[in-house]
């Protein structure tokens, strides 16, 4: 099974995700604050990016949310709004899906592993 999902979070996505998740850390929603602490701009929530990996898995399994049994990720580079996220993955010999998420050359999620329920 090969997986690919592409999504471009718009400028206001971090604000919508903050409201939906309850995580209002200003590094995600306040560009000036983010720049004051040395970031290029306000950055995506890591758990939003993880949710894109989760969505790629359930879509590949036919859309049933029950199909995703386990997902583990490591967060790496900072995800940025208004840049395309590409999630890719493939199944290894043990039947585990190995995935990553990138924005251009910037790997925002690495060493992700997912287990799907067998239909």
């Amino acid at each position: 099974m090969d997986i690919e999902l592409k999504v471009t979070p718009d400028k206001y996505l971090p604000h919508r995700y903050a409201g939906a998740s309850g995580d209002f850390n200003p590094i995600h929603i306040d560009r000036e604050f983010a720049q004051q602490v040395g970031l290029p701009t306000n950055i995506l929530h890591g758990l939003y990016s993880m949710a894109q990996v989760a969505r790629a898995c359930t879509q590949a399994a036919g859309g049933d949310p029950r199909s995703l049994r386990r997902l583990s990720v490591q967060f790496r580079g900072m995800g940025l709004p208004e840049q395309e996220i590409v999630v890719t993955g493939s199944e290894n010999e043990q039947g585990v899906l190995a995935l990553e998420a990138v924005q251009g050359d910037n790997r925002i999620i690495k060493n992700a592993e997912a287990e799907l329920a067998t239909a």
Partner: protein, 146 residues
């Protein structure tokens, strides 16, 4: 300097969260989940769910309240200025649907130092009103320069 691991094994009081249909919809919309089982009660029931069902990663919404007191605990003593969310794992059980009451217990699973960085690993275990486990989360925070 080794990290202080005195809080290892510490547990925190359960946190209860009542799952609402509109909150599921708001979350699903924000992360781009467009399967109607997350919005439409009839379609969710036709697919075998009790009610509108949450996307798997909705786990962050109902379990964060249990993790907050652990992360902020002075006995754990993380330096927030130097902290990043290093890794995350969820293992899912019973699906979470609108109308459920989810109870989550947080604990400090491990604290250790590696390569000059402090690793603070928290665990959350969430059960529904019938006592069925819905998700187990492992949250790894890394503090640079300990």
């Amino acid at each position: 300097m080794p990290v202080n691991d005195a809080a290892k094994g510490k547990t925190y009081p359960p946190f209860e969260y009542e799952v609402g249909k509109e909150k599921i919809k708001e979350y699903a919309w924000a992360v781009g989940e467009d399967n109607p089982v997350h919005f439409d009660r009839e379609q969710a029931r036709a697919a075998g769910f009790r009610d509108v069902v949450a996307p798997p990663m909705f786990a962050v919404v109902y379990s964060w309240g249990a993790l907050g007191p652990a992360v902020l605990d002075p006995e754990v003593g993380m330096n927030f200025a130097m902290m990043v969310h290093g890794g995350q794992e969820f293992v899912w059980g019973e699906p979470v649907c609108a109308g459920d009451t989810i109870s989550t217990e947080g604990s400090v699973k491990d604290i250790y130092e590696r390569g000059g960085m402090g690793f603070y690993v928290f665990e959350t275990a969430s059960r529904n009103q019938d006592g069925q486990e819905v998700v187990r989360g492992t949250w790894t925070n890394i503090v640079r320069g300990v």
